[in-house]
Symmetry: C2
Subunit: 147 residues, 2 copies
DNA sequence: ACGGATGTAACAGCTACTGTTACGACAAGA
DNA sequence: TCTTGTCGTAACAGTAGCTGTTACATCCGT
């Protein structure tokens, strides 16, 4: 039983940032600055820029430089799923096998990898399916409902 | 896109250790030592003792001390699911909300928590369901099949 | 040219897991 | 009772990732 304090909040922060940009644009603004987003998220603008940089590389956000610069969405909120965001910021398995290969001369050491992989693959596939079912539009709707 | 090198291998190692004990006992041995298990897992005996200590606290394993001591299963392989093991060694959410609370004066900052929690809860519940469907007996069967 | 914003490097602090050494506690068996 | 083998656990270093922060270069609209 571990506490896992350092759990992944990256998906949360990324979804927060994108949703914020989406709502801000919907209210008629051109671009959102990392400063504004950071205020809503309650963190440092650099943290936001770093994260949005990964999202831009994934084709979910764009940035303009120079004066009056800032961030925009590359796609509509409705076409971005939590899976898109997850893959942009967290790609990597939830569970891992051994760090160093177990004893191949042992029956268990030899067969445990494939056995666990079968389970992990299924878990991962289902997790992705679930994340894919929720769009940022859904998230925004829930957000506004809570207000 | 992060690599997540340090992903959770604890579930893998715990399942490996318990399965090893189960097979060893099934072959007529009384107890398994942390040294033997560590050899199969390819790690240090102390790592195994630490992990099995958590499994003992969860009621999945038992240890005897003194000469000729070692580890035994508290329950049959068939009655131990991967969820039992997961809860014993990994309890804690896969995803987390913000580390420090977002701006409650912002619509998004205020509503994003509940919105994401709804998704995360569902993901977590499904993950548990899936892990609960596989017993260590199933794992052992797969392991022996691979041999 | 100026000003405002991004892009990014660099660093410290925190947390978690692993691996290792060391040593005390314990109990079976001689 | 003494020996011996094993667990139980503390302690520490090393690795890794995320966060937060400072600093500074880069870019571009005005």
């Amino acid at each position: 039983m571990r506490s896992r304090v350092g759990a992944n909040s990256r998906l949360t922060i990324a979804a927060h940032a994108l949703t914020w940009i989406g709502l801000y644009q919907r209210r008629g603004h051109e671009v959102a600055t990392s400063e504004q987003i950071a205020t809503s998220v309650n963190t440092n603008p650099v943290v936001i820029r770093r994260l949005l940089g990964e999202l831009r590389r994934a084709g979910l956000a764009d940035s303009r430089r120079g004066a009056g610069a800032g961030w925009t969405l590359s796609r509509d909120l409705e076409s971005i799923t939590l899976l898109d965001v997850y893959e942009a910021v967290e790609s990597g398995p939830v569970f891992a096998l051994h760090r160093s290969a177990p004893d191949p001369g042992c029956v268990v050491g030899h067969g445990i990898g494939p056995a666990m992989t079968a389970v992990y693959d299924e878990v991962e596939a289902t997790l992705r399916e679930q994340l894919a079912r929720t769009t940022l539009e859904d998230v925004l709707r829930d957000v506004l409902k809570a207000a």
